[in-house]
């Protein structure tokens, strides 16, 4: 299995996901959830989304086997996981809350990263540098990618929330932020334990670590604002959008900062 075949798997996955999204959109909100036509369309939406996730999952597994190491190192590889988790979290959000538009957004999100990977894969690095050879590597990165995809969905909801009122929007955003922040916390803390093992300190204010803390604090602030007082819808939405921008800084933007040139997290450039 090589990256040359990704174009096939990527497009297939995007097409299945788009099919699922269309079925979800066609299941009208006003129909009774127990009606046959609603259940049929929802069933197709879920089935096609599951296939789409499985297609991408099988590419990841085959690539993993052929590389002889987990594909979690280069930016191209982390984008692959991001697409996978975006589809998975979109599917789970739809299955649980029945938001009929969420599959469209997760499809767009995943497809953007699939297209970037097809056009600019950044896959040349084949070996795994010594610092990454650790049992913490897989949980640390996959947990982060999963949280990024959930918080990506929260970001999409915040974009809608800027223009549309609705309590159920914030119910969904809250749940995505809570679960996303839980995984963000797992990622950050497993990273700290790993950093102690690899470099000697739990925390050293490395640029990547600092931006991880910024992202975490943004979502912590959102949670506290939701719990502690009445906050305007727009403020909450803007905070979620700002948080997601910080998340992008942490994920890849930090590599372009002059201040980050001496970062010890340099293996994904």
């Amino acid at each position: 299995m090589t990256w040359d075949l990704f174009i096939l798997f990527g497009i297939l996955s995007a097409v299945f996901s788009a099919g699922g999204a269309i079925f979800a959109l066609c299941a009208n909100d006003h129909w009774s959830v127990s009606s046959v036509r609603y259940r049929q369309r929802r069933g197709w939406a879920i089935l096609l989304s599951v296939v789409s996730v499985l297609v991408l999952a099988s590419f990841i597994v085959l690539l993993w086997i052929s590389l002889g190491r987990p594909p979690l190192k280069t930016m191209g590889e982390t984008r692959l996981w991001y697409s996978f988790f975006a589809l998975l979290s979109g599917l789970l959000t739809y299955a649980w809350w029945r938001f009929r538009w969420i599959l469209s957004f997760s499809t767009v999100l995943a497809t953007v990263f699939i297209v970037i990977n097809i056009l600019r894969p950044e896959i040349h690095d084949q070996s795994l540098m010594p610092a990454l050879q650790s049992p913490w590597f897989i949980p640390h990165v996959t947990v982060y990618m999963f949280s990024y995809s959930l918080l990506g969905c929260a970001f999409l909801i915040a974009l809608i929330g800027l223009f549309k009122k609705g309590k159920d929007l914030f119910e969904a955003a809250d749940t995505l932020v809570y679960i996303g922040t839980a995984f963000l916390t797992f990622g950050m803390l497993t990273g700290a334990i790993w950093a102690k093992q690899a470099w000697g300190h739990y925390w050293s204010w490395d640029p990547k670590e600092t931006w991880a803390m910024v992202t975490w604090l943004c979502y912590v602030l959102y949670i506290h604002m939701r719990l502690m007082g009445r906050t305007s819808r727009k403020t909450l939405c803007l905070l979620l959008i700002f948080s997601f921008i910080c998340l992008q800084m942490c994920w890849w933007g930090v590599n372009y900062l002059p201040a980050a040139q001496d970062s010890i997290h340099v293996y994904n450039r």
Binding site: P130, E171, Q197, A198, W205, W211, L217, L257
Partner: protein, 256 residues
């Protein structure tokens, strides 16, 4: 600069701080100070200022900010806010005699975990030290240097016995390891596999002479308070798991 706060001074100061928090809590709960520390404003201020500081460090790369007095004082405020909300959370959970609900346990694990993690890092910082040294093959090393170039005499001798580098297909080092003897006792070092030297003290292989391969760079990290920080991290991991399982409580605190 902060070496005058080394053990036991830091322990005494920590106990005084902890005592003052508990005393204020138990005797002056209605005072303006405690009420402020428990207010949402105090929490927003703590998270907000921390966020701004992290943003400044993230954009400018000025890590030295974290070693300045204003930062040290701010972190004391941050810990105090945490301590007061934990005390209130504990009282609310136990005052009625009711068993702690899952949400309260989650609150306590997350907040107390954060306080323990930050607290041990903060109060233990003056006792933390990092030294590096170059180790040439078969030459015992007794001295190491801190980041400022000051010499530190080791309590033991380190000797590099052997060193190997393996390369991947692309010519990039895929693995490097060193056999080092510590006071005559041999141990193998590689990245992600430090050697335990004693309480809170570990030896790391951090780098090597990439041009001639004549020496390795070894690092000793002394961090006696690290076990406490690890306890805090584990508490937060439990809290994060509960956050994942429990999810949000429904609330309608939105102004449209």
């Amino acid at each position: 600069m902060y070496s005058i706060f080394s053990f036991p001074v830091n322990l005494v100061l920590f106990l005084l701080w902890g005592l003052s928090v508990v005393l204020m809590w138990s005797s002056r709960r209605k005072s303006g100070f405690v009420r402020f520390m428990l207010s949402s404003g105090a929490t927003y201020l703590a998270v907000g200022i921390f966020l701004v500081i992290c943003l400044v460090i993230g954009i400018t790369g000025c890590r030295w900010i974290t070693t300045t007095w204003p930062f040290v004082i701010f972190m004391l405020y941050f810990q105090s806010v945490l301590a007061y909300v934990i005390l209130r959370g504990w009282r609310e959970a136990t005052a009625t005699g009711a068993r702690l609900g899952a949400v309260r346990w989650r609150f306590l694990f997350l907040h107390a975990g954060l306080l323990v993690t930050i607290g041990f890092a903060y109060w233990g910082a003056p006792d933390t030290a990092t030294y590096r040294m170059q180790a040439f093959k078969d030459v015992p090393v007794y001295e190491a240097y801190d980041d400022d170039g000051n010499v530190k005499w080791l309590d033991y001798s380190l000797t590099l016995e052997d060193f190997t580098v393996s390369y991947g297909a692309d010519g990039i080092p895929s693995d490097y390891r060193a056999v080092v003897s510590v006071d005559g006792e041999k141990t193998e070092l590689r990245v992600n596999h430090p050697c335990y030297l004693g309480f809170g003290e570990d030896l790391y292989l951090t780098s090597y002479d990439t041009s001639a391969g004549e020496y390795c760079v070894l690092q000793v990290v002394r961090e006696p308070w690290r076990y406490g920080a690890l306890v805090g991290i584990v508490m937060m991991l439990i809290g994060a798991f509960m956050l994942f399982v429990g999810g949000p409580r429904r609330n309608n605190n939105i102004i449209d």
